[in-house]
Amino acid sequence: MSATNVVELKLPDDTPVDLDAELKASNVQEVLDKLDRELIGLKPVKTRISEIAALLLVDRVRKKFDLSSAIPSLHMNFTGNPGTGKTTVALRMAEILHRLGYVRTGHLVSVTRDDLVGQYIGHTAPKTKEVIKKAMGGVLFIDEAYYLYKPENERDYGAESIEILLQVMENNRDDLVVILAGYKDRMDRFFSSNPGMRSRIAHHVDFPDYMPDELLGIAKLMLAQQNYRFSPEGEQAFEEYIPLRMKLEHFANARSIRNALDRARLRQAKRLFASRGRKLTRTDLITIEAEDIMLSRVFEEADKKQG
């Protein structure tokens, strides 16, 4: 009797495969669309994420046909300059992997060296393990992972932490996904001194810097999220602002844009406060005018350089 059951369970080779239905069932398209809408630019990142999503989806269908394959390793490495959206994408990644049923809870535990490495002998292992346990069922995001390894100090405890991480990345692949992030050159150096780490990470994703028009799009999106918007002149002023800011030191892509907008909001509030005599409307409250941006220090410094 059991033999006939097995035959019935196994689907014939020519069973049609309905990937569309599977896609709908997983709701993953929704997340991918959201990613497309809310993250501007980042072409290579989006391509890689949709590839991973496709792989996991196909894997799910394959499982229905009893075609078992090893659980794909999904540990990732995000490299890119500051403010290119590594953390934001990591958060989304947790959600996508959860929708695809790859991780169970889909939470993100974001840590840095401080959370993993202890201060004295015997402190590191429990600390690292505790973080790993917290991340189980979700995604462990290690920001600025290259700080874990300090070659100039041979007694540094970072190596111990790396060793435990490697072990967990190998043995508990179905329990958690580890995402490392950091600047490109330093991560490359980190991997060249930790070949074990490099080989255990299947996906190396590089986050490119944003173009000026992408940054403008990001600015508008940020403002919309906080219920503000540019006036047409304001938008033009900001368009001028972006290339000037990009030339200055310490430019951190989207993060610099966010700071610039925060300062513009300050100036807008000040302007509104100064014009108390006038009757204000709702439009006044939500509009960032050109003068809110033109007063920025960036324009002054650009003038100084020219003059």
């Binding site: 169970r104 809870t105 917290k134 189980m136 979700g138």
Partner: protein, 145 residues
């Protein structure tokens, strides 16, 4: 005899057959969903009044998934295979602040059980108490195979 085999019955589920890992994970999940902190403890003194067992590592706070706790349980089983191991869930809500769950997840292969001890006191008075046969040996040697 209602309790054959001298099985120690402390905490929850102790009259049931031993929980499987899947069942333990389900219980842990329930505790986590209530926001309780979970700890793993062990002892080799089965006396019912032995309330405070040794802690195996720190209590685990802020976990989201049972996998991490199951990992600790299995580590503890490896280290103390012939000990009693229990999982406790602590409810830290103000006003409660006490264990909400407690169940045994590992027990020695051979549990010799308890004997009744009679102590003759003043006059014809007799005091009764229970005594674990295993506790005659020093700690750490009680359940050696």
């Amino acid at each position: 005899m209602t309790n054959t085999g001298n099985r120690v019955t402390q905490g929850q589920f102790s009259y049931l057959p031993d929980l499987t890992d899947v069942q333990i994970a389900a219980q842990i999940k329930y505790a986590l969903s209530n926001g309780w902190a979970i700890s793993v403890e062990y002892t080799d003194d089965p006396h019912p009044r032995n309330t405070y067992w040794e802690m195996y590592g720190m209590p685990m706070f802020d976990l989201k998934d049972p996998a991490g706790i199951l990992l600790e349980i299995n580590n503890c089983r490896k280290t103390f295979s012939e000990h009693y191991i229990r999982v406790m869930a602590f409810n830290s809500i103000r006003g409660v602040e006490s264990p909400a769950m407690s169940y045994i997840v590992n027990r020695p292969h051979n549990e010799p059980g308890f004997g009744l001890v009679r102590q003759e006191a003043e006059g014809r008075h007799v005091n009764y108490t229970v005594h674990s046969y295993a506790a005659d040996k020093p700690e750490g040697e009680r359940y050696l195979r």
